[in-house]
Point group: C2
Chain length 172, copies 2
Amino acid sequence: MKIINKTRYAILGVLLAGPTSGYEIKSLMGRSTVYFWRESDSTIYPMLKVLTREGKVLPETVYVGKKKKEVFSITESGRREFKAWLDSPTGSETPRNEFLLKLFFVTDRQEIFRLFRERLDKMEGIHEEYKKIEERLEGIADFSQKAVRLKALRYGMALLESEIQWLNEEIR
Amino acid sequence: MKIINKTRYAILGVLLAGPTSGYEIKSLMGRSTVYFWRESDSTIYPMLKVLTREGKVLPETVYVGKKKKEVFSITESGRREFKAWLDSPTGSETPRNEFLLKLFFVTDRQEIFRLFRERLDKMEGIHEEYKKIEERLEGIADFSQKAVRLKALRYGMALLESEIQWLNEEIR
DNA sequence: GTCTTCATGTAAGCCGTTACATGATTAA
DNA sequence: TTAATCATGTAACGGCTTACATGAAGAC
């Protein structure tokens, strides 16, 4: 079984909302999917070329004022591929949790404490960020996916909260 | 900032418990760290060579009955490097959660339901596995890290349980 | 005798990150 | 006029996975 590059689905997913340029995809992801799906800066443009060659997206040159940009629309074929991915079994990422790796090997009590403390700080920071995003999202006028996105966000927050609580109890 | 290969720390961590062969490291990881730190089969041996060249581990040929194997011990320099890693700030993995990526783009109610259902099944499966590991661990005679490892395991279980509960409530 | 486990690797190829490169437009 | 943002990429390097390879010892 081959590993299939999933960057394409992230891009196609963004394009479902309408024609978008590479730069817009990049900045949009930087404000939304980063928290659960991070793409490196340089992956978007090459992938758009590939998708164009494959007929999954359609490029078009557009001028906004004097600025030129390439916007891409998703094609029927692209929609089909996206849908097929959605329907397919969701793969698991290879687990790589450095915090747990350290915890597994640690012996010193002091060190355990430090690890928990460090983890707690980080989780609380992320929770703060999520809260801000939640407020921003709540303030936005309704759009088709608002409810699901809030749900997904609160799912993430609920998990963070239970982790934070657990860590607090351990640190005591 | 360079990405530093962390396979080395996983290996050094295993060696802290005593001299171990590549094969033993591999199978040990397959029974323990896989759940939070997965190494591909082929990474162990080359890394052991690298660590040998660097003087972090010391190889020795040992015969068990007629079977020959190379066991590796951690050196003082290796211990220092391991300790330095433990003390250093824990990096965050790049987030890559395909489940959340799908959830972010999904619009169809039926599809959302299917995603939750699929996720729930998977999380329950993992929880089952953890429970078995817990039982096995509890049955083992005390060793220096038993308490921490149980703690880490239960931390993972607690998180799984809150996720399972959340999903159940959503599916209703 | 055959299958499983022990035991140790190599090679090809994709993936992903970092750093590098370039230039236009707009806001302060 | 200077900085930030818009806009689009390329190249090098390292990491990781998959598949391939080999062979001995012990269990059944």
